[in-house]
């Protein structure tokens, strides 16, 4: 399972030594600009530039990255479809009447809005991927500590983090073992197999909890967790580059705020 979490990929990216603050400013800045943009141009610009950065600079495998982009598609597609049918304005392009009492219209306005939202999702997701793929959570914990997020919350997050990986490996092995004995082969059986796996995992969770308490006792636990030493140097040059990039996108956003797919203004 090792290969299925973005975190694992992030641990090997080439931007790992850049101070997380800079990466977060860039990533979150781009997300907010994407969501705020009234036109599809800026989010697509962000998506394109950040994807290039992820693949070319951070060195993430292109094939893998393209696969990741498919993840949001399912939800986005269905939801955007709904929006295209319910948010009518402007010229009617398409009219369907699947059932006698239901008329579905597709208009220029709804298409514009649908496309805008799709582009926001696209831009936002690429920005999120930028954070996920370049900034391992291990770096975020110490950042959180410096930002004065309460200790117990960070400690809890770190424990959850640690056990995500322990359990995911176990779940993967259990599932493989079930597959080898032809588990998940029929519908009702699949629910049963899944429930058994989850139950077994729950029992393991229980045991892990006991072991963890014991391990912490053995090491004189006194309510403290260590932080990572020596944060990465804050590169002023990188910071200025990020500011320039963000300013540029804001300018693009303002210039292109009227651009739409079909000319008429969105709502």
């Amino acid at each position: 399972m090792y290969h299925e979490l973005l975190e694992d990929i992030a641990q090997n990216n080439r931007l790992i030594h850049i101070n997380p603050v800079i990466k977060l400013i860039l990533g979150i800045g781009c997300i907010i600009i994407s969501v705020s943009s009234q036109s599809f141009v800026t989010p697509l610009f962000i998506a394109l530039t950040l994807s290039t950065a992820i693949v070319m600079i951070a060195g993430i495998d292109l094939k893998l990255y393209l696969k990741l982009l498919l993840i949001p598609l399912g939800f986005a597609f269905l939801s955007v479809l709904v929006i295209i049918f319910i948010r009518n304005s402007g010229e009617v392009i398409l009219n369907i009447q699947p059932i006698s009492w239901l008329t579905l219209n597709v208009t220029t306005g709804s298409l514009n809005e649908g496309f805008l939202i799709l582009s926001r999702v696209f831009g936002g997701t690429c920005s999120l991927y930028f954070i996920s793929l370049t900034t391992p959570a291990t770096e975020l914990f110490s950042l959180g500590r410096r930002c004065r997020i309460p200790d117990f919350l960070i400690d809890l997050s770190m424990l959850i983090y640690r056990f995500i990986f322990v359990f995911i490996e176990q779940a993967y092995q259990i599932k493989n073992a079930q597959l080898m004995r032809l588990g998940y082969s029929r519908r009702n059986e699949a629910i049963n197999s899944f429930g058994m796996m989850a139950g077994a995992l729950f029992i393991n969770t229980w045991e892990s909890g006991e072991n963890l308490v014991r391990a912490m006792e053995c090491r004189c636990y006194d309510g403290k967790f260590a932080t990572l030493n020596d944060p990465d140097v804050f590169s002023v040059k990188a910071f200025i580059l990020v500011l320039i990039y963000l300013s540029a996108t804001v300018i693009i956003m303002n210039i292109t705020s009227d651009s739409t797919l079909f000319g008429s203004l969105p709502l």
């Binding site: 090792y2 290969h3 694992d8 990929i9 090997n12 495998d61 893998l64 176990q170 092995q173 259990i174 493989n176 073992a177 079930q178 597959l179 080898m180 004995r181 032809l182 588990g183 082969s185 029929r186 059986e189 058994m196 796996m197 139950g199 077994a200 029992i203 393991n204």
Partner: protein, 394 residues
């Protein structure tokens, strides 16, 4: 021999890491005992996971019974029925609330009816010596017992090929020997066995063929005697020689000359050392005898009497059934592993012994003793004790 699995030029790479397998080719023949030997991270498990389609090679192909593996759902079902896989960690394999339910998991998924499931499960439990454990929760079993439940779960599906990832990891010596003997027994029934291990001491005497792996590649393959004498290959695989082999090689380097193959057991090493020693070693005139008793024969009830009659000083048990049978009679055998060699040693020192075993192993005992006799020039006799308590010379 007929090829049962052919791996042709297979490569596999986990994303964002180096090759786990790189252009690996290997043919497994029906009825073989193969050990894939290498240190952790050598690619052993990745290779094994390909054999029943859990992982799919990114290049190259895998043939089962001369046909390309198909990754369609129904074909995978067929394949997994024929190639059984036992994981390294039984905790992640046996998850049903009771032993019976766990062993029945496979047969139930094969769609067998209730009676048939019961027959298969009972057979598998009997084979692994777990009858009476049906209602026990796997949780409360020892490591060795858990491993046996995992094996029984696969056994109940009656596959032709058994794949075992690190069969003895984390087991104590007695449980390890139990498991390895079960594997030999399965092999005696004609099953093909493939194990992965980093334990050279284990693989050396057990395997018919060794496949040495490192960093996703096969370094060498061949008979144990060839692979484990190659210090350079072993070093590049971060492994060391089995102790006996090491001793043998060191003695050779010191200028002693031995005849024949390198020793695979203490017995063979003893014989080799004796060949050049002129000391007070006991001579061949007064060899002991080895008696063999079928664990299923009624004569087993009069075992103690038999031991007296044949003036046998030691009792060996080979195979799960034999061990359980003796246990039920409150007899504790002197030897429960490496039994033939130990009895041969006894015989060389003019002691008699009785081996209790199952029919499938009797043939193996005969072969081993004959091998030993022809190589050493001794003439140690094996005698099968007949059901009617008479004897037949074998």
């Amino acid at each position: 021999m007929k090829a049962i699995i052919e791996i042709k030029d297979v490569s596999y790479k986990y994303p964002n890491s180096s090759y786990a397998l790189e252009n690996v080719s290997l043919t497994v023949y029906s009825g073989e005992k193969i050990a894939i030997v290498g240190s952790n991270g050598a690619g052993k498990s990745t290779l094994l996971l390909m054999l029943n389609g859990i992982l799919r090679p990114q290049s190259g192909e895998i043939l089962f019974n001369s046909e390309n593996i198909s990754y369609k759902r129904s074909s995978l079902r067929e394949l997994r029925k024929k190639v059984g896989f036992v994981f390294q960690n039984p905790d992640n394999q046996i998850i049903a609330p009771t032993v019976y339910q766990d062993v029945a998991f496979g047969p139930v998924n094969l769609g067998y009816d209730k009676d048939r499931v019961k027959t298969y499960v009972n057979h598998a439990l009997g084979y692994t010596g777990l009858l009476g454990f049906e209602r026990r929760p796997p949780h409360h079993l020892s490591g060795g017992e858990k491993k046996k439940v995992a094996m029984a779960g696969i056994l109940a599906m009656e596959p032709d090929v058994f794949v075992f990832d690190e069969p003895t990891s984390a087991l104590d010596p007695a449980s390890s020997e139990d498991i390895m003997e079960l594997l030999s027994e399965l092999n005696g029934h004609g099953k093909t066995i493939i194990i992965s291990t980093h334990d050279v001491e284990l693989a050396y005497p057990w395997a018919d063929r060794i496949v040495l792996m490192n960093k996703g590649k096969i370094i060498s393959e061949g008979k144990p005697g060839e692979i484990f004498t190659n210090r350079a290959d072993l070093k590049s695989a971060s492994l060391s020689m089995p102790v006996l082999m090491d001793l043998y090689e060191c003695l050779c380097e010191r200028g002693l000359t031995f005849t024949g193959n390198p020793p695979r057991s203490v017995l063979e090493m003893v014989k080799k050392i004796e060949t050049f020693n002129q000391g007070p070693i006991q001579r061949d005139e007064d060899m002991g005898k080895i008696y063999i008793l079928n664990a299923e024969s009624p004569a087993i009830d009069s075992l103690q009497e038999l031991m007296k009659r044949y003036s046998a000083q030691s009792l060996g048990a080979m195979g799960t059934k034999a061990k359980i049978c003796l246990e039920n009679k409150n007899l504790s055998p002197d030897f429960t592993y490496g039994v033939i060699d130990k009895c041969l040693l006894k015989a060389m020192n003019s002691g008699n012994s009785i081996i209790v075993t199952v029919p499938v192993m009797i043939k193996r005992i005969g072969e081993r003793v004959q091998d030993f006799n022809s190589e050493s020039g001794h003439n140690i006799e094996i005698i099968e004790i007949q059901e009617n308590c008479q004897t037949k010379t074998g």
